[in-house]
C-alpha cells in the first residue's frame, strides 16, 4: 500500500527520469498487485537510430557500410536510410520524446557493462510492472519501403546481429521477434535459418508497410521453416504517407488511424483467402499494433462475401473468421468505446481470452498500460492473466514466474 506523503515538486526538465515520468503507472502496478503475476509486453520499442553508429559497424558489405556511415554524418541532408514523414510527438506535447536525452545522459554517466538500451528498457518495464518485453525497432519499421532491397537486407542483418549480441544475449527479460527482410524472400529464409536459435529470439517480424503479397510462393519455404521451428511470424503495423490512398490524408491522426489498420487488413485478407492457414496449420501468426476493431470488421466483411464467393478461395474449409479467430493479436492501441458492450463484443469476436496479448508500444505516443486489460470487468480471471502474460509466455516459451521489480 502506498504511504501518504506531503511534498511540493517543481518541474525541471533536467530532473526528468522515466521512473518519475511513469510514477503513476507504478502506483497502478502496486495497487493492482502486478508483482503477483506475469505481465508480458509483446510490442515495445527502442530507438535503434540512437545506436546507428554501432549498428552500421555490423553491416557486412563494405560499400553499403561506408555509405551508411558517411550519410549519417550529415543529418540535415538526405540520408541513406531515409526519414519518415510524421509528427508522432504532437508538436512536442508528448514530452518524453524530447526529454529522453536526459535519461540517455544519466544512463551513459552511470555506465555499467551493458548497452544503455538494456537499462533504459528495464527502467520503464519495472515502472509499469512488466516482466518481459518483446523489443522492436522504431525507424526501421519503415525499412520495407526502401527502394534498394539490398539496403533493407544489409541493414536488417546488421541490426539483428547487433540486437542479438548487445541486447538479447545479456538481458533475459528482453526478447524480440527479429526483423525479416521480406522484400528479398531468400534473405528472409536465411534470416530465420541464421537467427532462429539465438538467445532471446522468440519469433520473426514483418513490417507491414510494404508492397509484396504475403501469399507469394517465394515465401512458402520461410513459412514452412517457421512452422517447423515453432516460432511465430508477426506482422507489425505502421503507415506509409506516400501510399497512393493514404496520401489523400492531410493530418497525422488520419494517416495513423487508417495506415496502422490498412496494411494489416491487406496482408490478413491475402493470408486467409489464399488458404495459408490450411497450408500451415501449425504456424503461429500474430498481428501487431492495429488495435482490435479492424479484425472485428474484417471478419464480418470476409465472412459475408465468402458465402457467395467460395470459388474465389477454394482452399478454405471454414469461414475466414474461423481462421482469424485462431491467430494472435496484440492489444495496443486498444480502442475504448464509451459503450463497454462494444468492446466486449470485439473481445468475443477474436477469442481474446486465448488469442489476445497485451502490449504497451512504449515509449511511443499512444502507449497502453496493463490496466487497460486489468480493469476490464467482463474478463474472467484466467482470461485476464492470459492476455496480460500467460498466452505470450506459451507462444514465446517464457518462464511464467514474475521477475519484475516495481519501484
Amino acid at each position: 500500500m502506498d504511504m501518504a506523503r506531503s511534498e511540493v515538486r517543481k518541474l525541471a526538465a533536467e530532473d526528468y527520469s522515466t521512473t518519475q515520468h511513469l510514477e503513476h503507472a507504478s502506483r497502478q502496478a502496486r495497487e493492482r498487485n502486478y508483482q503477483d503475476f506475469l505481465i508480458v509486453d509483446v510490442d515495445a520499442h527502442h530507438y535503434e537510430s540512437e545506436s546507428y553508429s554501432e549498428v552500421f559497424a555490423y553491416i557486412e558489405s563494405p560499400v553499403i557500410r561506408r555509405q551508411a556511415v558517411e550519410s549519417a554524418k550529415r543529418g540535415a541532408r538526405a540520408s541513406m536510410l531515409g526519414g519518415t514523414i510524421g509528427y508522432q510527438d504532437i508538436g512536442g506535447r508528448i514530452t518524453r520524446h524530447e526529454l529522453r536525452r536526459h535519461d540517455i545522459r544519466r544512463h551513459d554517466k552511470l555506465g555499467g557493462g551493458n548497452h544503455r538500451d538494456v537499462a533504459m528498457t528495464l527502467e520503464w518495464m519495472d515502472a509499469m510492472g512488466v516482466d518481459y518485453s518483446c523489443l522492436f525497432p522504431t525507424p526501421m519499421l519503415f525499412l520495407g519501403l526502401h527502394p534498394q532491397v539490398e539496403v533493407e537486407v544489409a541493414m536488417c542483418r546488421a541490426y539483428n546481429r547487433w540486437l542479438c549480441e548487445r541486447i538479447l544475449a545479456v538481458e533475459p527479460r528482453i526478447v524480440s521477434m527479429l526483423y525479416l527482410p521480406f522484400n528479398d524472400p531468400d534473405a528472409a529464409y536465411k534470416t530465420v535459418k541464421d537467427f532462429g536459435d539465438k538467445k532471446g529470439v522468440v519469433g520473426f517480424m514483418v513490417t507491414s508497410p510494404r508492397y509484396k503479397p504475403v501469399h507469394d510462393n517465394a515465401y512458402v519455404k520461410t513459412y514452412a521453416l517457421l512452422e517447423e521451428m515453432g516460432k511465430p511470424i508477426a506482422f507489425h503495423a505502421a503507415y506509409n504517407w506516400h501510399d497512393q490512398s493514404l496520401s489523400l490524408t492531410n493530418r497525422f491522426i488520419s494517416v495513423h488511424a487508417l495506415g496502422f489498420m490498412w496494411f494489416n487488413m491487406v496482408h490478413m485478407t491475402n493470408w486467409v483467402i489464399n488458404g495459408l492457414p490450411e497450408r500451415f496449420p501449425k504456424l503461429k501468426v500474430m498481428w501487431i499494433e492495429s488495435g482490435l476493431t479492424w479484425a472485428y470488421c474484417l471478419m464480418q466483411r470476409l465472412d459475408h462475401s465468402y458465402m457467395m464467393r467460395t470459388s474465389d478461395c477454394p482452399s478454405l474449409k471454414r469461414k475466414p473468421s474461423e481462421y482469424m479467430r485462431e491467430m494472435y493479436y496484440s492489444s495496443q492501441p486498444m480502442e475504448k468505446p464509451r459503450d463497454r458492450s462494444i468492446l466486449e463484443a470485439t473481445f468475443k469476436m477474436i477469442n481474446a481470452e486465448t488469442q489476445l496479448m497485451w502490449s504497451s508500444d512504449y515509449p511511443h505516443w499512444d502507449f497502453d498500460l496493463p490496466s487497460v486489460i486489468y480493469d476490464l470487468p467482463f474478463l474472467s480471471e484466467t482470461g485476464r492473466r492470459n492476455i496480460l502474460g500467460g498466452t505470450a509466455a506459451k507462444v514465446f516459451g517464457l518462464d511464467p514466474k514474475p521477475v519484475k521489480k516495481i519501484p
Partner: protein
C-alpha cells in the same frame, strides 16, 4: 478544509507550476496571467500526470467567411497537456478539450500575504 502550502508568490513566475502531494492527492497548481489554478494531477484518460506537461494555446482552423479553409493558428485559450498521451485541458476550467463532459477535479487556491496555499 485543510490547506497545503504551495510556494511563495514571489517565487512563481508567469507560467510556473508546482505539484503538491498531500497524502494520496496530487494537485497541479498553475500561475498564469496573474491567476492561480489548481487541478488534480491524474489524467481522466489513463491516469497520467495531467498537470506535468506542456502549456500551449489552443490550435484552431481558420475558416474564411466563404467557408474555405485558410490554415491554422493558435487562439488565446491556454491549455495544459498530459505528457503521457496528449490529452489537453483548458487552464481556466480544467475541462478536457476533446470531450468537455470530462474535467479534472478543481481545487481552490488562496493567497495569504506572500504565501500561496491550495485547499485540499
Amino acid at each position: 478544509m485543510p490547506e497545503c502550502f504551495v510556494a511563495k508568490a514571489s517565487e512563481m513566475q508567469d507560467g510556473d507550476r508546482r505539484i503538491v502531494v498531500a497524502g494520496h492527492a496530487e494537485i497541479g497548481v498553475f500561475y498564469k496571467d496573474g491567476a492561480y489554478f489548481a487541478y488534480s494531477n491524474t489524467c481522466v484518460h489513463a491516469g497520467g500526470p495531467a498537470c506535468e506537461g506542456l502549456m500551449i494555446n489552443r490550435v484552431v482552423d481558420v475558416i474564411a467567411p466563404d467557408r474555405t479553409y485558410q490554415g491554422q493558428t493558435f487562439s488565446d485559450e491556454v491549455h495544459f497537456v498530459c505528457p503521457w498521451h496528449g490529452y489537453e485541458y483548458e487552464l481556466q476550467t480544467g475541462e478536457c478539450v476533446g470531450d468537455r463532459r470530462l474535467r479534472l477535479k478543481k481545487f481552490d487556491v488562496v493567497r495569504r500575504g506572500d504565501d500561496i496555499f491550495v485547499v485540499v
